[in-house]
Subunit: 282 residues, 2 copies
Amino acid sequence: MLVIHDKSAIRKLVASWQAQGQRVGLVPTMGALHAGHISLVRQSRESCDRTVVTIFVNPTQFGPSEDLALYPRALQADCAMLEDEGVDAVFAPPEGSMYAADHSTWVTVDGLTSGLCGASRPTHFRGVTTIVSKLFHIIPADEAFFGQKDYQQATVIRRMVRDLDLDLRVTVCPIVREPDGLAMSSRNRFLTAEQRQAALVLSRALGDVSQMVGEGATPDDCRKFLEHAIGSEPLAELDYAAIVDADTLGEIRDFSRPAVAALAVRFGATRLIDNILLPPSG
Amino acid sequence: MLVIHDKSAIRKLVASWQAQGQRVGLVPTMGALHAGHISLVRQSRESCDRTVVTIFVNPTQFGPSEDLALYPRALQADCAMLEDEGVDAVFAPPEGSMYAADHSTWVTVDGLTSGLCGASRPTHFRGVTTIVSKLFHIIPADEAFFGQKDYQQATVIRRMVRDLDLDLRVTVCPIVREPDGLAMSSRNRFLTAEQRQAALVLSRALGDVSQMVGEGATPDDCRKFLEHAIGSEPLAELDYAAIVDADTLGEIRDFSRPAVAALAVRFGATRLIDNILLPPSG
């Protein structure tokens, strides 16, 4: 497995594969890899001839009061995991190489980014879409893999790809969970034992909502249930509980179209997100 | 010469050329072609193995009160000119095919777009950078050609290409002028005979400024001279007269670095722009 730090080197490598007719899969990550990331790598290995994983803790998707400095970095351990998985190349650019001092170009997706995580993280998605479009230009993959855990992010990236005529397929892979239901996240390591236990409220409440929809509950019932469930956990502080259209992320009045139930909850300084797809019912 | 209306067809054609190792040049235009555009085509034909010209009157770069509906369309005449020039393919997408009804992704360049034309056309450059990045994705050319007449546009596109790691070279070609000095523009056809004559004030004043710099004038002297020159022409209404840094488009106090003198002037409803590069002096 090649670990490449230089943009033109990874570009040349990918071009050489594509010149041989090989399909290239891309898994963009911020490192601190866990089983969720690995599921994306395996999906890419199944669908593509070559798999590139990028590891870059992107400063522009962190707000001024967020955890950029604390975000876990573990390049060596990450590379060891990826080598075991048969990844072909890791692109890990140095921090200073991705943004010029006078960087001033941004890719923004309006509408989809204003609610949910965008409400409390107003510049987050601009940072995500900008770095992802840069990575797509450096590594013009045939297919890119994202996790459903970051549902809004995946939806925003799909929209960006469509709107900007980017020539690649976006594949969104299912959430990978701990045996007790907690969604895998690089931020889980920040939880105390008590918070870790309390954090099960997310997946439990989302599972309950999924069942409620089958039993005829309205979106409003479901949202209230989520708020109540999170409110009942003393260590949890609700950021949002939302039941939205799966494509537009807009508010809904019934479950006639695919929907998603999404939660963002703080445990101390650690903010966790989780979601569940709700197929049309009734 | 192929005239292609479909995104995936032009994409396939360009890919087939590049698979054979041919360099592809791209000349993005809004049609209504004149000798300025043709100079870009000729430059592309000289530097590249294949040349694609795009013709698309991009609605998102026109403001609500601007001349989108009136902008000249002349696809047949344009194609005849391009065929004579040995262009390989024209990409002319239908109006509805470039923006979905719920299009919501924008590429923006901050800073560089706030002054000069950006001051009176606040959404113009967002439209330009968005359509140009779309065209770069549909036609991943090796080199793209823009005219210096739209100096701010060329500077903004260069910055976008750098910031988003787009893998192509941007070449800016000199302004092509009528024999009497008027910069070629698709909008010149809207001028009355009197306005056409009066419009010579732009190139004349810029030429004078270039000489003044050689004689030791300050940027402030030059700006005042331009304002006075335009002010002396009864049919001309000044939008801006600016002497700015050639790279940052910021204000300057001396001519120690490359600069540009730029004018935007209205003649009735027709807005013309022109500029001249001012090499460092002194």
